[in-house]
């Protein structure tokens, strides 16, 4: 046994060294693994890029814009190659997190106000929005003037007595038909 023991005694430091090496390898490997894992964890915790906008999201913005080349064609339905490219720009900008308003501003800056479905209410454009209601109010005023003399005139009381419901109606109907024929 002794010789074995002595052999064991001789081999003891070597085993310890091997164990120590294994420990350090394992430690360093584990640390590296942890670091790598941490690195992955850091990568997963970074803000994810926005998902690719859907065609419906692109069209929702494109619908509010008009083709800068074709007259009076909304961008979401314009079949030209140019409009396809402009829709791609919208997709890209939505992908970068732009809001619809920012995208509209971008197109106005690039192509002018004609890309908007309605002109912004400023300057001369105010006339677009002011004139139709003004015309209506003026027309209503003239209509009021036409009716007004009656309202102030004498004898405007509702002189027509409430007629007996159906017989009176039949009589009037016949009278109208007689006049027609």
């Amino acid at each position: 046994m002794f010789p074995q023991s002595s052999r064991a005694a001789r081999q003891g430091p070597a085993i310890r060294r091997q164990l120590a090496s294994l420990f350090w390898i394992g430690f360093l490997g584990g640390w590296a693994g942890l670091l790598l894992a941490r690195g992955h964890a850091v990568a997963f915790q970074a803000p994810a890029p926005p998902p690719t906008p859907s065609a419906d999201q692109v069209n929702a913005v494109a619908r509010q814009l008009y083709c800068p080349v074709c007259a009076n064609v909304p961008l979401d339905v314009c079949p030209t190659q140019a409009c396809e490219q402009w829709r791609a720009i919208i997709r890209e900008e939505l992908g970068q997190g732009w809001t619809p308003q920012q995208i509209k501003d971008y197109f106005v800056q690039a192509y002018g106000e004609r890309v908007l479905a309605s002109p912004p209410a400023q300057g001369l454009n105010l006339l677009v929005y002011v004139l139709p209601p003004l015309a209506f109010v003026l027309g209503a005023y003239f209509l009021y003037r036409a009716v007004h003399p009656w309202r102030r005139g004498p004898g405007q009381a509702e002189s027509t007595p409430p007629s007996p419901p159906e017989d009176e109606y039949a009589r009037r109907l016949e009278e109208q038909l007689r006049k027609r024929s």
Partner: protein
């Protein structure tokens, strides 16, 4: 030879018009009836001359005479015969010939009527109609000649001219460009002629109006004489607008039918003033009021008819610069300006003669409600006109191009249309002169309560919450109930006083007062159209997606599955790509659709033909947007769910039927006209 003949016929018609104008004026001034009769004959002669010229052009189109510039620009050898005929109105030059042809036909019908009672109108009707006709003929003769031919000059340059330039030889292209693919649709075959028929029909009431002004006839005779003309014009204009909307829905591939495009609006405006006129003339007939206003309306309608043609033909829509470069734009501008100034000056000169015989006697009367109706119609016209011309004004004064698109029109005209619907619910119950509030309340109570019940059902069952849609549906319901109640009350009242069954009583009522009951049918048509418009505008859904074969997309109550896609070339130079789509509802296949895209080689233009599955509930409208290479078998589709849209088309049919009922000739009136006394064509010396 044939182009020269066609041109000479057109030129002769123009000279005949000029002769007719001169002869008519001379006849009145010299008080010589034979000159007036000769002018009338000139008006009659214009039709066969222009007919022969138009037939020459159609023959050239049919027989591939590509040496004629117009033929070359709108036809090709591969086009079917019917499209070659309809390509007459596929370009500006041919459209001008069509316009003149229809105008001369209406002029001839007007000339052939019995003039016994209204002879003093004849010379001036001839003048106004022939001036309009001569104007359009002059455009075709001097500015956009449909018979111009190609010539090759000695320096190799290609020219288009009627007669050969010095040293030039005829040039005959082997094939033409072909008709614009967008115009190769059945809707486009009928849409322009209907619209043009509507336009030219309104020239007749205008000419009678002017004749009444010139001859100082301040009674309502001109209105009674042209009532049917107006209704016929209105009918054709309505048909033209509806067909245009249907064409847009079927061909333009954007899921809608009305895009508030300036060309659409241009055709819509005379319809609006014409509708206001149709209501307003009733006040003059019943109460002798609004004589001046009716003149204003017919002048406005005529001006808008010319403006509508001008807008689409002058280049003004694309830009003010295109207008300035356009050959016919400035001519149109001068003609519209000139006729407006002359008409209004004439009206002002007769202002005192046209004072009303009566005045409004009540705030609540049919005439007041009709006036409110006129206010609403005219306000819509102002909004439309302003929306169309503002981009040009902006460009002119600031150099800034702007778009006035659907949001503006929807916001501006939406409340006005709602107001018109409300009036349609009240006005039929009101009386001429004065309506007691109590009576009106009693008459409207039943329909009103029923409409509230309908509204409650919509809220409870359909769970609608949009206030605009609810208001629209409620108003449509109210008008429908009021109108049906009117039919019911009239028929039951008649069946009480006559021994007639209810359906017979209803039939007799309609037969004896077609105008009134035809009007009610029109109102019912409008109700159906309103339901379709509210449904499709407020509740349209859409989605777009790329799906491989066998995959599905869900929209509204439907699922659609992409089954296959194929591509082939046709004999008429088209590359067709067609998808096969299965439509499912509740898990069961209900239809197979074939949306496709046609690429026309020569025109280098793509047509998007939707696949549509129509039901009472609405349309599933599917467009093929794009497709991937054959390997992936994927394709992109845009799908629309248009609820209730078919109410719009059904309503249009009812609307047209109602107009036919209202415009149908009355035999009793023909007899009374035949027995009328004979008057002189020229006014007696005073």
């Amino acid at each position: 030879m044939l182009p020269t003949l066609g041109y000479l016929l057109l030129a002769t018609a123009f000279l005949v018009c000029l002769y007719g104008i001169g002869a008519s004026i001379h006849g009145v001034l010299a008080r010589e009836e034979r000159w007036i009769l000769s002018a009338r004959n000139a008006m009659l002669l214009s039709w066969p001359l222009i007919t022969l010229s138009a037939l020459s052009l159609i023959w050239l189109l049919l027989t591939n005479h590509f040496e004629v510039q117009f033929v070359w620009s709108v036809t090709s050898r591969s086009m079917p015969t019917y499209l070659k005929v309809t390509s007459l109105w596929g370009g500006q030059a041919g459209s001008l010939v069509l316009w003149s042809w229809l105008m001369s036909a209406f002029a001839s019908v007007a000339a052939l009527r019995r003039w016994d009672r209204d002879r003093e109108f004849l010379p001036w009707v001839v003048v106004v109609v022939l001036v309009t006709l001569a104007f359009f003929l002059s455009l075709a003769l001097f500015f956009d000649n449909p018979f111009s031919r190609f010539w090759q000059a000695s320096n190799g340059q290609t020219l288009a001219a009627m007669f050969p330039p010095a040293g030039a030889v005829p040039l005959i292209p082997s094939d033409g460009q072909g008709l614009n693919p967008l115009l190769r649709h059945p809707g486009m075959i009928l849409h322009p002629p209907m619209l043009y028929l509507g336009f030219v029909s309104f020239v007749i009431p205008y000419s009678f109006g002017m004749a009444a002004l010139i001859t100082r006839r301040s009674d309502d005779r001109w209105i009674r004489l042209t009532r049917r003309w107006t209704l016929v014009g209105w009918l054709f204009l309505s048909l033209g607008l509806v067909l245009g909307a249907r064409w847009s829905y079927d061909v333009l591939g954007w899921g809608g039918y009305w895009g508030w495009d300036p060309v659409e609006i241009a055709a819509f405006m005379p319809w609006l003033t014409g509708t206001a006129f149709l209501h307003s003339v009733m006040i003059q007939e019943k109460r002798g009021m609004l004589k001046r206003w009716n003149m204003v309306l017919i002048i406005l309608t005529y001006a808008l008819v010319i403006f509508a043609t001008f807008l689409t033909r002058s280049g003004l829509l694309s830009s003010v610069h295109a207008f300035a470069q356009s050959s016919i734009g400035p001519v149109f501008f001068v003609f519209i300006g000139g006729t407006c100034i002359i008409s209004l000056a004439l009206l002002l000169s007769r202002w005192d003669d046209l004072g009303g015989e009566e005045h409004l006697t009540s705030l609540l009367s049919r005439e007041t409600l009709f006036l409110v109706n006129n206010l609403l119609f005219l306000s819509i016209v102002v909004a439309c006109f302003w929306g169309v011309v503002f981009p040009l004004i902006s460009q002119l004064f600031t150099g800034q191009q702007v778009t006035v698109g659907p949001p503006f029109y929807q916001r501006t005209t939406g409340p006005l249309f709602a107001g018109l619907l409300l009036l349609m619910g009240i006005a039929p119950l009101s009386a001429w002169g004065h309506t007691a509030l109590q009576n009106l309340g009693r008459l409207i109570l039943r329909p009103f309560l029923l409409s509230l019940v309908l509204l409650a059902v919509l809220l409870a069952v359909a769970r609608l919450s949009d206030p605009g849609a609810l208001l629209g549906f409620w108003l449509a319901g109210l008008v429908a109930l009021v109108t049906l109640d009117e039919f019911w009350r009239s028929a039951s009242a008649r069946s009480r006083t006559h021994p007639e069954a209810l359906p017979v009583a209803l039939w007799n009522l309609v037969a004896r007062d077609r105008r009134r009951y035809g009007g009610y049918v029109i109102h019912l048509g409008v109700v159906l159209m309103a339901i379709g418009i509210v449904g499709s505008q407020f509740f349209q859904q859409q989605t777009q997606g790329t799906i491989a074969q066998g995959q599905e997309i869900q929209l509204g109550p439907y699922a659609v599955r992409h089954d296959s896609i194929s591509e082939w070339t046709t004999n008429d130079q088209r590359d067709v790509t067609r998808a096969v789509i299965a439509v499912f509802h509740g898990g069961n296949q209900v239809a197979e659709l074939h949306p496709r895209r046609d690429y026309y080689f020569v025109a280098q233009q793509t047509m998007t033909i939707p696949g549509v599955y129509s039901t009472v509930q609405g349309d599933l409208y599917l467009i093929l947007v794009g497709w991937e290479p054959i390997a992936s078998n994927g394709a992109t589709f845009k799908i629309y769910w248009n609820p209730l849209v078919n109410f719009l088309w059904c309503g249009a049919v009812v609307f047209i039927l109602g107009t036919l009922v209202a415009a149908w000739p009355d035999p009793e009136r023909r007899r009374s006209r035949a027995s009328a006394p004979h008057w002189s064509y020229v006014p007696a010396k005073q």
